[in-house]
């Protein structure tokens, strides 16, 4: 009750100082009108999200017991689906809180005025968020809640060091030995696929060869019969030979390298009794830190409940569970992956992540996607 009261006062102060200025740019700054509620406030908290594994029933129940707010989900396939849905209902938002947009989508949401300020940035616990999580974005419109480096994972049974050696450059994947044996989720429809494509742009902008760029590489990969899938699940589970896919129905197993997270081998070990034959390829600039955000929807009806949920999601008790529940790193300083069953041991640390700011990602994404499509068609 006390928390609610404090939040109410803070919200009143914020609302009175916030200008309703409409969507206009002034001296490079973007101002967004704070929209009225797009749906009726029936006391429930409506969250738009993808199937974030961490949001389990018990966790939601606990939140409801603590705050009295019931929670209802609008579930999308992935981060792209969240953005699509928020764009679709721009003038009548159906959700109060967004959970799951990552750093390759966030700026588009910001520039389209889909989010509004949260007061969580002035919360003491906000200071506990690690600098790596705050690096892509640290403004008042979104708060990071989990993170993890996206990178290539390969099957150690195939890359045995004798017949096939570990690639030392992305160009190595265009060799005959990898022909038809690589799988990539499409950046058009997949969030990790999109992150990896961004990483390749930075990788090839910073390599020694000035005559080729990322899309030359993607073209060469397509010519080397790379498999392109619509989502991460198809690439990792259906095609990749190094992961759990071999135990699932629908497994094809025709690719020995794919895009996933650098901690995926750790997750494999955690669920596989400390055994995995998958590992990460952590070439400098060929990995990219993916940060996932939560933020209050511009047009939300139940702002107090949304603020409370952000606080709950970022509480040490909940955020520390991200590795087990959402297979990602927590964002809070001092919390690491668990050591149980080789989770931490098998999770690789990137040598140097690709570094492209989110404004550039937003500005150039459409062109990149078109170039990618042309290169891989």
């Amino acid at each position: 009750m006390k928390t609610k009261l404090i939040l109410c006062i803070l919200l009143l102060v914020t609302a009175s100082t916030a200008g309703c200025l409409g969507t206009l740019e002034e001296e490079g700054e973007l101002y967004c009108e704070v929209l009225p509620a797009g749906h009726e406030d029936d006391g429930k908290l409506r969250i738009i999200s993808y199937d974030v594994l961490a949001l389990s029933d018990s966790m939601i129940e606990e939140f409801t017991n603590e705050t009295g707010y019931e929670v209802e989900f609008i579930k999308e396939d992935d981060a792209g689906g969240i953005l699509d849905q928020m764009m679709l209902t721009k003038n009548a938002q159906q959700a109060d809180l967004m959970i799951g947009l990552d750093n390759t989508y966030l700026q588009t949401a910001i520039e389209n005025c889909l989010l509004r300020d949260t007061i969580y940035t002035s919360n003491d616990n906000y200071q506990n968020i690690s600098s790596s999580a705050l690096e892509p974005y640290s403004g008042p419109l979104a708060v990071p809640f989990d993170q993890g480096p996206v990178c290539l994972n390969y099957d150690e049974d195939f890359v045995d060091g004798e017949n096939v050696t570990e690639p030392t450059s992305l160009w190595d994947l265009t060799d005959e030995v990898w022909k038809g044996k690589t799988a990539f989720p499409s950046p058009i429809t997949s969030s990790p696929g999109r992150s990896f494509m961004v990483a390749t742009i930075d990788y090839f902008e910073n390599d020694d060869d000035e005559n080729t760029n990322a899309f030359d590489w993607w073209k060469a990969m397509a010519e080397n019969d790379a498999i392109f899938t619509s989502g991460w699940t198809e690439a990792y589970e259906t095609h990749y030979t190094g992961g759990y896919g071999e135990y699932t129905t629908g497994y094809i197993g025709d690719a020995h390298i794919t895009v996933s997270y650098c901690q995926s081998p750790g997750v494999e070990a955690y669920y596989g009794g400390n055994y995995t034959h998958s590992t990460s390829l952590v070439l400098p600039k060929a990995t990219i830190q993916q940060v996932e955000y939560t933020g209050i929807v511009n047009g939300a009806a139940n702002i107090i409940a949304a603020e409370l949920f952000i606080e709950y999601l970022l509480s040490p008790e909940i955020n520390a569970q991200m590795p087990e529940n959402n297979l990602m790193y927590p964002v809070l300083e001092g919390y690491e992956l668990p050591e149980t069953d080789g989770y931490r041991y098998h999770s690789d640390t990137p040598a140097e992540n690709a570094d492209i700011d989110i404004e550039r990602i937003n500005e150039e994404m459409q062109d990149w996607l078109e170039e990618w499509k042309t290169a891989t068609d």
Binding site: L53, F73, D77, G81, T229, G231, E234, T248, T249
Partner: protein, 561 residues
């Protein structure tokens, strides 16, 4: 209106967003490799599915119709099960069948990993993923087999046996070829063509099976579904709006043509069927020979096998410590309690039941009123008007589930975004999809209903409502129950439109829950059996409804719809 208005508005919106005319959109369709590839694949899989369904279905229908079987109603029901099975359950069943640990693999046919003979075919012909394509065709054949049976078997089982005896004495029927050409082809040809055209339409608009069985390829339906989420929004992902606009127009044109051809063939088939069954009293049948028993037993096993595998898989759990499998109810318990961020089975079941009750309450009266109107117009001699109403009522059949879902999403919802949270939204496509089925089931009964019954009831002094009840409803009890049960079964299993629309709210139905669980990362070995538990629940519920429909189906209808 429910169908045309959202779709029309959706197309208008897409043309506005893309700034393209319909002709320009069609030009773009042909210039885009992805869309052309999807069209080519759609035509290929639909054609192959149709050919193989007829080749495999004909002998089954022949033996079922020509021989005297004990428990014929049970056999018909078992062989018809696939047609009412939700497509997402079929997809799961075939995934289990072709699994590297599955039965087919033990028989040396590896359709998934494409090793052995399938791998040899791939490397010899250069055909990419022949195993996936064969699995898809096998699933489509399985799904549509009852169409062939239900069109051909009634004609065969009720045909006057003396016709066959008589033609043997004529020069045109003295040889086997002659009898095929002059007796069987004219009699069974239109029925087979009817089944073939419907099979083509259903395979053309297949969604769940393509999504899960041929992961490397898109048909028009999956291509539209993937692009649909971001379509119809001004200044955002215009490329997806272009794909959806062009693809929906091409699909609409092809399906309209297919529906028109089907209607023509169906009229011809109805006339022939009426003539053939005119003297059905004298039909005499012989006991089935070993070949007949083998074919029918094989067909029954083929019909049930994928479904049994789904149920078994819901109990089969991999032990992460040694990779062995054990059997337990753990996945059922987890799926029932809704852990792993998935909707719990009871909640999804509740949603599914709500939608199917709403669908029933709306689709059944609409179907009743329309079929009653058509029958009355025909009775009054206004044949042309009756035809127009009939054709208009069949329009939803010319639209795929995904198109209807997108029509509502882009059309209705973008016109009034506040409708997003309206509970009726997911039920709208179910109503649109099932109403034509109600009309098809009710119309023949309406046509044969004597208007005198109601007049006599009125003469007995009954009120208008009581006259209607005793003179009409009680007479139509059987087709009404069949319509109601099938409407609910189709609504429960509907996947394409639901997949598009549930993303707008928290309305997960059972069919969507299966897809969601299967789409989750499955590091935890419990997730896949949980999906199978949801699929099994959906399957059992559908079967109960189907059994109710079968119980009320008149025996003399044979396997006919």
């Amino acid at each position: 209106m429910l169908t045309i208005a959202p779709l029309g508005y959706a197309i208008l919106r897409l043309t506005a967003v893309t700034d393209l005319t319909i002709v320009e959109a069609l030009g773009n369709f042909l210039a885009d490799d992805d869309t052309v590839r999807a069209l080519r694949f759609t035509l290929l899989e639909a054609t192959f599915s149709t050919i193989f369904t007829i080749i495999i279905g004909l002998p089954i229908a022949w033996y079922l119709g020509r021989y005297k079987w004990k428990h014929i109603r049970i056999l018909r029901a078992l062989l018809s099960v696939p047609f009412v099975t939700p497509s997402i359950v079929v997809a799961m069943g075939f995934l289990m069948l072709i699994d590297p640990d599955g039965l087919l693999n033990y028989a040396g046919i590896d359709l998934r990993l494409e090793s052995g003979i399938i791998g040899d075919i791939a490397s010899y012909t250069g055909w990419a993923n022949p195993g996936h394509f064969i699995a898809l065709i096998a699933a489509h054949v399985w799904f549509n087999l009852s169409l062939v049976m239900r069109f051909i078997e009634p004609t065969l089982s009720t045909m006057d046996k003396s016709w066959e005896e008589q033609i043997r004495f004529l020069p045109a029927g003295s040889t086997r070829f002659g009898r095929v050409r002059n007796l069987w082809l004219p009699i069974l040809g239109p029925a087979a063509l009817c089944a073939a055209s419907l099979c083509f339409i259903f395979s053309f608009t297949s969604f769940a099976l393509i999504k899960w069985l041929t992961p490397n390829q898109d048909n028009l339906e999956t291509l539209m579904a993937k692009s649909g989420g971001s379509a119809g929004i001004y200044n955002y992902r215009v490329d997806t709006s272009e794909i959806v606009l062009a693809t929906s127009i091409v699909q609409l044109m092809i399906l309209c043509l297919a529906i028109l051809i089907t209607a023509q063939i169906q009229r011809k088939h109805s006339v022939i069927h009426a003539v053939v069954t005119e003297n059905s009293e004298s039909v005499g049948k012989i006991k089935p020979n070993p070949a007949a028993k083998l074919i029918i037993s094989g067909a029954v096993i083929y019909s049930l096998l994928p479904l049994i595998l789904v149920a078994i898989s819901s109990f089969r759990i991999r032990d992460i410590s040694n990779g062995d499998y054990s059997y337990s109810t753990e996945a059922w318990q987890e799926a029932w309690s809704g852990n792993y961020s998935a909707t719990a089975i009871p909640e999804a079941l509740y949603n599914s039941l709500i939608y199917c009750i709403i669908t029933l309450v709306i689709a059944l009266p609409i179907g009743y009123v329309i079929s009653s109107l058509i029958a009355r117009l025909e009775h009054e001699g206004r044949i042309w008007t009756a035809r127009v109403v009939e054709v208009l009522s069949m329009i939803p059949l010319a639209l795929s589930a995904v198109m209807i879902g997108l029509g509502i999403l882009i059309g209705l919802l973008k016109w009034s975004p506040s409708l997003f949270s309206w509970i009726l939204i997911p039920a709208i496509p179910h109503i649109v999809i099932t109403t034509p089925f109600v009309i098809r089931i009710m119309l023949p009964a309406m046509r044969s209903l004597q208007p005198e019954y109601m007049e006599q009831a009125k003469l007995l002094g009954l009120s208008t409502i009581k006259s209607w009840w005793h003179g009409k409803i009680l007479m139509l009890r059987a087709p009404l129950v069949v319509s109601a049960a099938l409407t609910m079964a189709f609504s429960l299993g509907e996947f394409g439109a639901s997949w598009i629309l549930v993303r707008s709210g928290s309305w997960d139905s059972l069919s969507v829950l299966v897809d969601q669980l299967m789409g989750q990362p499955k590091f935890d070995p419990l997730i896949q059996p949980m999906a199978m538990a949801a699929a099994t629940t959906l399957m059992l519920l559908t079967f109960v409804l189907f059994l109710i429909a079968e119980k009320f189906r008149a025996n003399e209808e044979g396997s006919g719809f």
